[in-house]
């Protein structure tokens, strides 16, 4: 079981990771998200022992590393899939995957599973970005680590493969009973694959909870905005009921908010019906395949986003009737001053 | 032609010399263009039981090595055959040279008999001149008159042979005259790296006259008979100094001494004279072809070992600004 206490990391004098606390269960998959440059890669490298930590402790199974007593990476038995692949350019795909293996059965298994069989004898330089990423993945998993770190393992794969692979990796991690920390940009990936989600902002963990809780009751506006398209609608909160220009709605106060609040609305919490006497005006619309996303300015000036079936047609400037359709309580944040 | 071939009177023939047997290490210092390889090969061929090892090198470097070896108590060389007498003096001054038997040194011409080393061949200072413009009688016959002539001069002040020549001039004429001479020549001199270059420069007509040992000219002419260069000599001054390369015995036993005897044999001496154009120093051996007999040149009387002390010469050259 991985336990991280009070971890801080500095580059020179700038703190890049501040006071991180984490504990992972036996086979838990933790998704780490956050804006670019917030320190995700840095955390993974610190856990792997690739950069020195300045404070705190990392413990896993039979080792415990601190700033004073570092444990070298090769003693940690962690696996890592690097954002920039880090394939050995002088070795073939097969040799990369078998790097320190004596029994190559597992390597074969992963090469097979990731569709790399026909590239076995190719050098990495000949592969496309996505192919490289799959080799990196195979290499890590074939070495049976006690704990896996994934730095945007799927960021260079196409959507179809990504979707399948995502679940294959998750299942493999679960089957092996290895805990993992998985960095991603993809909020869909973060919410669906992980057992828990950690949202990082400027080196600080803003929330660490189940996907459902992070999504429904974000700890901050930042988290709300980061996980899915958040719109905010002003309202008056009394107890667990809020009144807005779109009518009343059930609400959950965040950080004991009261009175003037901003209500978090997601595109699916709303409905949109074309109506000449509606309460909003379409700003823009985007086609998304199955659905369309509308941005609508409602009375009071708030711009809200709402997702409809692709069969609903509306043009910018059209007047529409908006309503809150969700039945679950909505997160309410104290109004910013 | 084999060095052991023609026989001349007065000098000892190799036929009369004892056979050489055993291990012998010879440090062979070249540096001015000696070619002794064929001599050594012939001696080896004649003495199959001789295991001759040769270490070749720049003469001064080998001299330094011998001194360094002696200091460290490592003796590897039995003999040191050096191309110039200065290096011989250097080793002798360090007390490393073994005294030679009188019956050996007695074979040499008078004036070339030294107790601790044996000159093998001599070379004479000459004034090679460009025959495209000049005849021999236009070249001054006194070296000290050279600055006052209107000839352009090629020289190689950094060359050991030149420095020995200048040392002789210093000994003969004094420091002041030598310094004046240097200044005078320097005004119309072109500097070359070595005396072979000087002779080549003269042959091309780059300069009118050069200062060089005799054999460069002779060798050049032997390869290129129509070369536009010939030799002129001064009289009875440093300009026609006869210097010598020599050999030093460094270890005990008969073998090194007997080896030296071979070098002074009639066959070796005449071979060096005919093939390398060096001047034989054992009486009765013919001088090289194309060179006037030594007797007609009248070289100055100088103790060659004194030429080893180059330091004052170098200081003088520096102060004049030719080095």
């Amino acid at each position: 079981m991985l336990k991280v206490s009070n971890l801080s990391v500095h580059y020179g004098t700038t703190a890049v990771v501040k006071n991180l606390n984490l504990a992972l269960a036996e086979d838990e998959v933790l998704m780490l998200v956050g804006p670019t440059g917030c320190g995700k890669t840095t955390i993974l490298q610190a856990l792997a022992g690739l950069i020195p930590i300045s404070e705190g402790e990392i413990a896993l199974g039979n080792w415990c590393a601190s700033a004073k007593k570092p444990v070298p990476p090769e003693k940690r038995n962690v696996g890592m899939v690097f954002q920039d692949f880090a394939l050995f350019p002088h070795l073939t795909v097969e040799q990369n995957v078998c790097f320190r293996l004596t029994n190559t059965a597992l390597a074969d298994h992963w090469l097979n599973l990731l569709g790399l069989d026909k590239f076995r004898h190719a050098k990495p330089a000949r592969l496309s970005g996505g192919q490289k990423q799959r080799v990196a993945l195979a290499r890590t998993l074939a070495h049976e680590p006690a704990f896996v770190l994934l730095d945007e393992p799927l960021s260079n794969l196409d959507a179809a493969l990504k979707d399948n692979l995502r679940w294959e990796i998750r299942e493999a991690l679960k089957a092996a009973g290895v805990p993992a920390i998985w960095v991603t940009h993809d909020q869909e990936e973060a919410l669906s694959v992980g057992d828990r989600v950690g949202i990082l902002n400027g080196g600080v963990l803003e929330q660490l909870d189940t996907p459902e809780m992070c999504f429904a009751e974000p700890a901050s506006r930042f988290v709300a905005g980061f996980l899915g398209e958040a719109s905010f609608l002003p309202g008056e909160l009394h107890g667990h009921q809020v009144s807005t220009v779109l009518g009343p709605a059930p609400a959950i106060p965040i950080d004991a908010a009261e009175g003037e609040v901003d209500l978090l609305l997601r595109p699916d919490d709303l409905s949109l019906v074309p109506s000449a006497i509606g309460n909003g005006v379409i700003d823009w619309v985007r086609y998304e395949g199955c659905s369309r996303l509308y941005a609508v300015t409602v009375e009071g000036g708030a711009q809200l986003r709402v997702r409809t079936s692709h069969e609903v047609h509306g043009k910018p400037g059209d007047r529409v009737q908006m309503a809150i359709t969700t039945t679950h309580p909505l997160a309410a944040f104290a109004r910013k001053r | 032609a084999s060095p052991m071939a023609n026989s001349v009177e007065n000098a000892v023939s190799v036929e009369q010399l004892p056979k050489l047997e055993g291990d012998l290490t010879l440090y062979l210092g070249t540096g001015e263009g000696g070619l002794y390889e064929n001599v050594l090969a012939a001696i080896e061929k004649r003495n199959p039981k001789l295991n001759l090892k040769i270490r070749r090198g720049v003469t001064s470097a080998l001299a330094n090595t011998i001194v360094a070896e002696a200091k460290a108590g490592v003796r590897r060389a039995d003999l040191f055959w050096a191309v110039d007498s200065g290096a011989v003096g250097q080793v002798a001054d360090a007390g490393l040279a073994r005294a030679l038997p009188a019956n050996l040194t007695g074979q040499l011409m008078p004036g070339f008999q030294y107790p601790q080393w044996a000159p093998v061949t001599g070379r004479i200072r000459t004034l090679p001149y460009y025959t495209g413009r000049f005849t021999a009688d236009q070249i001054p016959d006194s070296i000290m008159a050279l600055p006052d002539s209107n000839l352009s001069v090629g020289w190689a002040p950094a060359y050991a042979a030149f420095q020995s020549f200048l040392t002789a001039m210093r000994l003969l004429e004094g420091d002041k005259a030598t310094a004046d001479w240097l200044r005078g020549v320097n005004r119309r001199a072109k500097t070359y790296a070595g005396e072979l270059g000087v002779v080549m420069g003269v042959e091309r007509g780059e300069v009118d006259v050069g200062l060089a040992n005799h054999y460069y000219t002779l060798r050049l002419k032997s390869g290129k008979p129509d070369a536009k260069v010939d030799l002129a000599f001064t009289k009875n001054d440093a300009g026609c100094l006869v210097n010598a390369g020599g050999v030093v015995a460094l270890s005990q036993g008969d073998l090194p001494i007997n080896f030296i005897r071979y070098l002074l044999s009639r066959e070796v001496q005449s071979y060096l004279a005919t093939e390398a154009f060096e001047i034989p120093l054992v009486s009765g051996v013919k001088p090289p072809e194309g060179l006037v007999p030594l007797s007609s040149v009248s070289p100055p009387k100088v103790d060659l070992t004194q030429l080893a002390d180059l330091r004052p010469t170098l200081n003088l050259m520096r102060s004049v600004g030719v080095l």
Binding site: L50, P52, P72 | V74
Partner: protein, 511 residues
Amino acid sequence: MTPSSLLRWPASYPLALVIALMALVPVGVLFGLASDEVQLFDAHNLTVLSNTLLLMLFTVLGSVVIGVPLALLTAYVQMPWRRLWLILLAAPLAIPSYIGAFTLYAAFGRGGEIENLLGLPVPSVDGLPGATLVMILYSYPFVMLTTRASLLSLDASLVNAARTLGMTLGVSLWRVVLPRVVTGIAAGGLLVALYTLSDFGTPAIMRLDTFTRVIFVEYNAFGLSQAAMLSLQLLVIVGLVLFLESRVRGSRERPGRHLTIWPGRGQQLAIALSVVPILVLAIMLPLGVFGIWLAREGTEGFEFSYAWNSAHASFLAAIFAVVLAVPVAHAAIAGRAGRLMERMTYFGFGVPGIVMGTALVYVGLQLPFLYQTLGLLVLAYVLRFLPLAVSSVRSTAEGLDPSLVRAARVLGASPREAFQRITLPLTVRGMVAGAALVFLEAMRELPATLMLGPTGFETLATYLWRVYEAGYFGRAAIPGLLLVLMSALGLALMLSGERRAEFDVTETPHS
């Protein structure tokens, strides 16, 4: 920076320190020799000093001007017989510069061989311009090889970015590629500078009064201690050059795709025509002049064992130099102290060979079991030419992507295993180039070979010198040719090793 360098002494430091100290031993001997007599610099020597510095400066500039385009050519341009071009262009390293200087001197000028042969008057080659020309011809390959090694470990696809931004190929090479190989160029320039400082033959033949000549005069006049003192003063200049080079900072980056430039037929011809004069002057002219003399005088006395001796000793030197260079190069990358150790190994390259040779005789005499053995000769070669290996190993090692080593560590490899399996194979190219340089330099080395080899050990270089000294130039033709041929062979062998190490995208389209 790797974590190990932050947490403790880099593993390469102790070894590098030992090697650096070893390389300093000959310099220490010079101090010992010089202490006998102290006569400092006199005023006359100022012109000598300025000649020396000018020769060095012009030679370095000229080598860069010639060597860098040739590096681009051999690294990126797809030409027919590209390996042959590379080998020919590196071959001048195998020719002793005194041979080159002498033949150039003999060929040009009034009454020179060219005038004799063609009847055309040609200007003579001597003085500062002549010496500079010769030094450039025989040392530009240093710049070419180090720059080429850097170029090959560079992400040259950035040229593509520059070109799509509207920049022509030439300008993008200039602005996008060259600034990133300044370390490689500087490393080559350093070697050229040191080589120029220590060379005696060329300035002497070209009648240029330089520092080495003063040293040589002293040495020949048996002023060994004065020569040692002057050599130490020369070392001050060497130190200055080393310092200047260490100020050059390139950017460190991850290796990437190679660039391939496809010239058209006409361009290929133009390139060939611009390269040929260099080869004519540096290789064909000396061999041709020797050939003329060979025809005139005939040859005798040459044995093929000389060639074997040359190759054997040089090969051993190349191997050992590279083995020793690896820890030094890695120490240099790891930190400041390592950088200092690396710098220390460079001193041996800047001292005139004969003085260095004498110093090594003193060193050898302290090791009687080694004295006058092949072992000591190889050691001497290694001490003299270590910088050649170090500089090319370092420049490739610097281009290594640090995340590769991290990946290996995370997969469970100890630092040692990661070094053996990742760092080492990925720097093979630099090691091969370094070995090639050492091999070529050792092939043409003279003073140390004469002074330290086993008695009777004759190599191509010593034989060449022997017949040159004796004025039997015709006999120099065969060993000269052999020297060039064998060096080319050695280069070819090593370059085939390099090809195997070329893992990146050299499998170019349409190949």
